[in-house]
Symmetry: C2
Subunit: 151 residues, 2 copies
DNA sequence: TGTTTTATTGATAAGAATTATTATATTATA
DNA sequence: TATAATATAATAATTCTTATCAATAAAACA
């Protein structure tokens, strides 16, 4: 944890931003809840538990900043709010998501499954790929099992 | 054009919705600007040119309805507005996008490049894929050419 | 056909998410 | 330490979208 905070601190410094206490508190929440996909409001409420004096606008600003520096990815699952997701350490690409249309759960896939596809895009469309985002919508294993049982 | 309107009319009727003049006007705009990725506001302004009496709420309602019936896909490129994109005729899946980070242009890829990837997801994660959305971020051909010239 | 029900619409209010503003506080720098 | 630059909290303002509601149009039915 401390190691990753340090890394992020350096990334900020490299662009002459400071890791203020508020920013650190925000990053800590993101690290602690790495598996989740928190909205700005979610992050705000969690940060507030430990740093009650923080303001919502600061959280928004911090998330925006982290997003610009590619420390977090801003994603949107179509529910009206942006969600913020830490990049895996050293990950060059965004990771993928499996969104269950039954229960709404979101699983992550870290594997880069798109190397072949990217090659095709670069070759056939002349498009130089820098990043990608891939989301599958469908039914997760749990919901499939439930469906079988209740038959 | 008329053929596609007819098809959409049938899809609406199948769910006992009517193709009202307002809905038809909205669909016509979507068909005319099929290559674009219009926001609700964009659609509203374009529909208004030919049917000045239409209300913004009706356009939102129509787009929502078309979205539910999978006639259009509601997409989000992270600029704060939802955009609406007609599905290609008979397309089972969402098509993909190439978003240029230099000029902001959005190209479409109709090919289903993900068959292999979907097989892996179904097999390794037990996730039954119903749909997917894939967006590549990078530099389009035009911007690459410009970059070379201005060197 | 006339009447009743239902669906749809337009105008606008309400809501939610996000951004802008402003005064204050903190930090860095001369 | 004084001064300038950054960052912050509180909150106002904005933007996008949805809900409400009265009016209208269409459909169903007697």
């Amino acid at each position: 944890m401390e190691h990753r905070i340090d890394r992020i601190k350096k990334q900020l410094h490299a662009q002459s931003y400071k890791l203020t206490p508020q920013r650190e508190a925000t990053v800590r929440v993101l690290l602690e809840r790495e598996e989740d996909h928190l909205s700005a409001e979610d992050v705000y409420l969690l940060v507030k538990e430990k740093s009650p004096e923080i303001g919502l606008a600061t959280v928004y600003r911090t998330l925006e900043l982290l997003s610009e520096l590619k420390i977090v990815d801003k994603i949107n699952f179509g529910d009206g709010v942006s969600r913020y997701d830490l990049r895996k350490e050293g990950a060059e690409h965004f990771h993928h998501h499996l969104v269950c249309i039954e229960c709404g759960s979101v699983e992550e896939i870290i594997d880069d499954l798109l190397e072949d596809v990217e090659r095709i895009v670069e070759k056939d469309w002349g498009f130089r790929v820098k990043d990608h985002r891939l989301t599958f919508h469908g039914v997760c294993k749990q919901c499939q099992d439930v469906a079988v049982k209740t038959k």
